[in-house]
Symmetry: C2
Subunit: 234 residues, 2 copies
């Protein structure tokens, strides 16, 4: 009975996974705009209407892929951080490790990256379910900075008076234990990181930057410094 029920349930889980895998494959090959339920079904040897047993619409499938992409990136970033920490690297080096793995992930999964950080898919708006997954990298950068604050210390970035109220609001929202100057710099650095990655990925660095690894590493270090992090041991 429980095995029987389990069998049907397991089958459901497996088919759902197969659908997502195939969808991800097509996403990787063609991009989100070209992702079609019919093509996914075709490839799986199913009839297109069968997918509706698993996803109520194309948008729901897209939402699932978006969450998976955020989680995949988040997981990479988190394990990069842990790897660095295990190697006795301090917050500054952890920051760099995370930035580099974000870039790496983006280069390895360009269409998934475009799906979550590129221009929105026309006619689709991401529902709130995606928010927690989307926040992972941001929270990780906050965590690293927090460690520095409560550990080796943090330089304090400058902050114009006009921005103080907003800085305090953001700090209260995101990391009440960190100085508002730091939180502000953190949010800016977070956005700027994606500027660097996006420009490389979407071809704006063609004919401009050649040694992109080295260039990026330096830029990531500058971002870390902007937040107040400094090189050094744990």
């Amino acid at each position: 009975m429980s095995t029987a029920h389990g069998a049907r349930a397991r089958a459901r889980i497996e088919v759902t996974a197969a659908i997502k895998d195939e969808a991800r494959r097509q996403l990787a090959a063609e991009g989100a705009a070209r992702l079609s339920l019919r093509a996914v079904a075709r490839e799986l040897g199913m009839v297109s209407s069968a997918l509706y047993r698993y996803f109520p619409s194309r948008d729901d499938l897209l939402t699932a892929l978006i969450i998976d992409a955020y989680d995949s990136l988040g997981e990479s970033a988190e394990s990069a951080r842990e790897g660095a920490r295990d190697a006795a690297a301090g917050p500054f080096e952890q920051w760099i490790a995370v930035c580099e793995v974000v870039r790496r992930w983006a280069l390895d999964h360009p269409h998934e990256y475009a799906l979550i950080y590129g221009s929105p898919v026309p006619g689709y708006t991401a529902p709130d379910v995606t928010v927690p997954a989307a926040a992972r990298v941001g929270l990780l950068l906050i965590g690293i900075t927090r460690d520095a604050h409560h550990g080796p210390g943090l330089a304090r970035p400058s902050l114009p008076a006009g921005l103080r109220p907003e800085a305090e609001r953001m700090a209260a929202d995101l990391a009440p234990d960190l100085p508002p100057e730091v939180v502000t710099a953190l949010v800016a650095a977070w956005a700027q990181l994606y500027g660097l990655v996006g420009f490389e990925l979407f071809g704006q660095f063609n004919r401009v930057v050649e040694d992109r690894e080295t260039f990026f590493r330096h830029a990531a270090e500058q971002l870390a410094r902007g937040v107040g992090l400094v090189p050094g041991p744990v």
Copy 2:
């Protein structure tokens, strides 16, 4: 004769412009992925095949729109810079003015911004004709920095030894009269600017940054400082 010939030629120019205008309207309303020759023709009261007298294919129309978008942004940026200069603002303030107008333009033309700086349109690769238009904002930022270098002066950003060869190569390519450290910082700042704009535009700042004008202004100032610019008169 010349008027007659002129009439036909003028008509051609006008219809071409009307097609681009309508295409731009649809682009603004729906995004590039939804732009269709048939819809444009329909709206203009023409038959879809008639457009082929003006653009050999949908991709060519898209290319024309891309160039126009780059040019529109470039023009905005250039005139913002001139406005600032006319108001006796120094390079630092000109830099801020340009950054702010880039942001403004992006918020006012989200789909055109997405077309040129967002994820690539699937199945389309921009031909080389777009390069000069695409370079305008970058060249403008270089120009501002050059003015500072030959005028009020420029702080010299740091540069790790490993990046020096690439920095020298970039400087030789882009601005041989500027120090390689500055050129490197410039390229990074340029990418980071688009990270800030893109995050705001594509919704990553939702629930995070509220006073976006003030936040952006501060971030733009930090970018300017990173390049070596400092506030002050001409």
